[in-house]
Amino acid sequence: MEKYKGYKDLPIMPITDTPSTVNQTGFWKTFKPIFEMDKCIKCNICWKFCPEPAITLDEEGYPVIALFHCKGCGICANECPKDAIKMVMEE
């Protein structure tokens, strides 16, 4: 904010310089999801349901979890039709 001297220098509303994905918000989770990829059928349901969204898809369509964004809500594990996601206690 050093470039701002007074209110006139500000943009009309607060806008971040970077996307909010730089904020690592996944550190307070109690449980973390563990993906068992051999059970995964690439249905992408976990990707659709993740509210963060902390799940992206790799080139082959398998889910990739970004644990520094995941808050451990467990929705993915609950929705997975193949029980390929287990929630385990964070150490």
Binding site: M13, I15, S20
Partner: protein, 396 residues
């Protein structure tokens, strides 16, 4: 131009259509529903190319409008009463995020007691949300105000949302002749919305982000400054509109027969029309009465009220809502505006017409006659409820 005989709700729908609103997110509520039904018809018939989002609540409707507006889309919604109350949080978001959403609100009483009739409590309760508020007198004013407020709100130095307000049933469901301007003329008056910064997936930023105490006030001051600046912009845009379309409404406060008046009533909404009729009749009888119609409640017409107080010694403020604890909201603003000046007219506050109780010519004539002879100044009977059974004003 097409001259149609349409309701206030139809006029609202036509306003959104010819303003080319690009995203409309709305939820039905009596007596607003026919606005979005009409828009849904336009969309279904292919007459209106807009993204019409059917949402699950008014809170979501406003959230969708805010987000759409941030992408640079012109947005519109409509609500009423409890729907507007449910939006409250997102109304504050809309102004804080500087999204010039335009919303029609049909003034309806809040429950309980359950009621669907005219009353200004729903919008008055949104005074502090940072929205401009325009109280309309006619269906034509409803349509024209939508066009004008997009232009005012979308000015790069304003960027503030607007509520266009019509009385339940009296305007919303009553038909009047309305000129619907030609699309070309509207397009010429109202160019596409082009904000400087937009939500863009290819260049992602967080909008409305956290600000530490060092800079919060500065952002709020920017809103305050823009809202103050809006007063002049409203006057400029109305002048431009008048030049193009031949209609104007008196800026922030519409005066009628006040120049030599002994007593003036100050009123917002369609009751102003009734008051003008009463004034014409009483003037023929030699009684010098006039009207100050509150068009804008936010930004408040401070200069206009102070100008009026220099001319007129008796002002009766008719509030169609009440702020429990002390007084009607318009009267409170009038007292507040006059305190720093030396002008001290007798100002009385009448609470009338709540929950759709008709404010008839007879009621207004009684209030004018009371104002003409009143010497009650200061705190003596400063707030009076009109025609409350068992506690009636002036039925002698």
């Amino acid at each position: 131009m097409v001259r149609s005989v349409i309701s206030g709700n139809s006029a609202s729908a036509y306003g959104a259509k010819i303003a080319r609103a690009e995203v409309i997110a709305a939820y039905p509520i009596t007596p607003q529903t026919s606005i979005i039904e009409k828009i849904a018809n336009f969309v279904a018939n292919g007459e209106f190319k807009t993204e019409f989002v059917k949402v699950e609540s008014e809170h979501s409707a406003m959230a969708a409008c805010v987000a759409a507006s941030l992408t640079g889309a012109r947005t519109y919604t409509a609500s009423s009463s409890h729907g507007l109350l449910l939006m409250h949080e997102m109304l504050i978001w809309a102004s804080g995020a500087r999204t010039p959403v335009v919303m029609s609100n049909v003034n309806r009483a809040n429950g309980p007691p359950w009621s669907v009739w005219a009353d200004q409590h729903d919008t008055m309760a949104q005074r502090d949300t940072g929205w401009m508020q325009i109280y309309c007198e006619s269906n034509q004013e409803v349509l024209d105000s939508i066009l004008m407020q997009y232009k005012v709100g979308e000015s790069p130095d304003i960027m503030i949302p607007s509520m266009i307000i019509e009385d339940a049933f009296i305007l919303s469901h009553t038909v009047e002749p309305v000129d619907i301007p030609d699309q070309d003329a509207v397009d010429d008056f109202l160019p596409p919305f082009a904000p400087e910064k937009k939500l863009d997936p290819d260049d992602p930023h967080g909008f409305g982000s956290l600000v530490m105490p060092e800079w919060y006030m500065e952002f709020r001051y920017k809103i305050a400054e823009s809202m103050d600046l809006a007063r002049d912009r409203i006057r400029e845009v109305e002048k431009d509109f008048e030049k193009r379309f031949g209609r104007s409404y008196g800026g922030l406060m519409d005066f009628y027969e006040v120049e030599d008046a002994d007593a003036v009533l100050m009123i917002g909404g369609s009751v102003a029309s009734t008051a003008k009729e009463v004034i014409d009749k009483m003037r023929k009888e030699g009684k010098k009465v006039g009207l100050a119609r509150v068009r804008y409640f936010r930004p408040f017409p401070v200069d206009e009220v102070r100008w009026l107080a220099k001319k007129v010694n008796r002002i009766g403020v008719v509030d169609r809502s009440y702020c429990f604890g002390h007084g009607g909201p318009i009267a409170a603003e009038v007292y507040g505006a006059l305190l720093p000046t030396g002008d001290r007219p007798i100002v009385k506050n009448f609470i009338a017409g709540l929950g759709g109780k008709d404010i008839t010519p007879e009621v207004l004539e009684r209030l004018f006659n009371k104002m003409l002879v009143t010497n009650e100044s200061g705190t003596e009977k400063e707030i009076e409820w009109v025609d409350v059974k068992g506690h009636s004003l002036g039925v002698e």
